[in-house]
Symmetry: C2
Subunit: 217 residues, 2 copies
């Protein structure tokens, strides 16, 4: 048993404590992480001068640090396969703490690690033959799909509550629809979300492949 080093706190331990809180409670607070680290709330400011928002940035870094970059820049793998991996990896990193996504999207990207991840995406798009002028649009779409999926996965409880009373409100949208919504509510959420993501990934891959072919001609 090694003696604990003198410093109890570090930016990484703070970020990890905050992440654990978000994963369990759905959110985090300064006194909360301080208590988890058996420390005074004000102590955190010595390590993260930026306060709460800086903790959020460090949380994002911590999540993205778990992504292995190697398969994303492996020239031996086809660009489309690398794109599949990229989307699944980023989404998985966020899905580890889905409710953190709603916290993350509220603050802009700044840390080098996140930029690095997105730089690999631009390389993949280039290798796939997407014209330079279109890469930003594609990355925006891919970002939207991945973030949206992660949020979808993390949205609390059944997203679709069956309509309580089908009291014949409007003739236009009458009988079959409420049923459909009920169908959506049944079926376990895990597979529902997973299927939606798989579909999204393949749809995006198809679009990228199509853009690449169009550029070749």
């Amino acid at each position: 048993m090694p003696r604990p080093s003198k410093n109890i706190l570090s930016t990484s331990t703070i970020a990890r404590a905050a992440l654990k809180l978000v994963e369990t409670k759905g959110d985090f607070t300064i006194p909360g992480v301080a208590a988890a680290l058996k420390v005074n709330p004000s102590s955190l400011y010595h390590h993260l001068p930026g306060g709460r928002s800086e903790i959020v940035h460090r949380m994002r870094e911590e999540l993205y640090a778990r992504i292995d970059l190697a398969p994303l820049v492996d020239a031996g793998v086809s660009p489309l396969d690398r794109l599949r991996t990229w989307m699944r990896e980023v989404r998985a990193a966020l899905a580890n703490a889905p409710s953190v996504v709603t916290v993350l999207v509220a603050s802009p990207v700044q840390d080098p690690r996140t930029l690095e991840i997105y730089e690999t995406l631009f390389v993949i798009l280039r290798d796939a033959g997407v014209p330079a002028d279109d890469r930003v649009a594609f990355s925006a779409m891919i970002d939207a799909v991945v973030l949206g999926s992660a949020i979808d996965a993390g949205s609390p409880a059944p997203l679709w509550r069956p309509t309580p009373a089908p009291d014949s409100s409007e003739a236009l949208t009458a009988p079959p629809l409420s049923e459909l919504v009920c169908v959506a509510a049944s079926g376990d959420d895990r597979s529902r979300v997973q299927k939606g993501l798989d579909l999204a990934v393949e749809t995006v891959v198809a679009a990228v492949a199509s853009a690449g072919r169009a550029a070749d001609r």
Copy 2:
């Protein structure tokens, strides 16, 4: 000039005041909306017993109320065109107050208006020939794209800050990438986001059309 009616407050005025705050300040607070309505903070609880989270729900209703349902259920329009309209309309409703999206996604859907909107989506998917078993997955993807795009549009400031110092960190990801990211940072954001959305819409439409054709065979 009509005399103001006796009751100063209503759920709708509260929701609209909160929306206005989110649009201007990026967030809202109970004392904030109370002050905007020249009323005591505690007064709000008489109309919205659910407190802050109920205000959020009413905000979502208020936003979606601006969507015209008629073109979405018009049998004279092709399903794919209706899908295009659906995505653009929902996205536009959210884009009116982009930063509200990050608030909305934190709370699950409950209000009938929002359910109504998504019911029209299921009808469109059915009309487009998407098999019943796949409609949930498709709706999840579409939801992800629309929400993600709206968040993208509302994310504060340049999403991509150019890497400050290219101090030759790793050989793998060396010269061209920082350039690419810089390109992304330039170019006005309006068109960037718009192009990304258009791309996403057409990509999704293609996927839906493909699923419809596959089911026909």
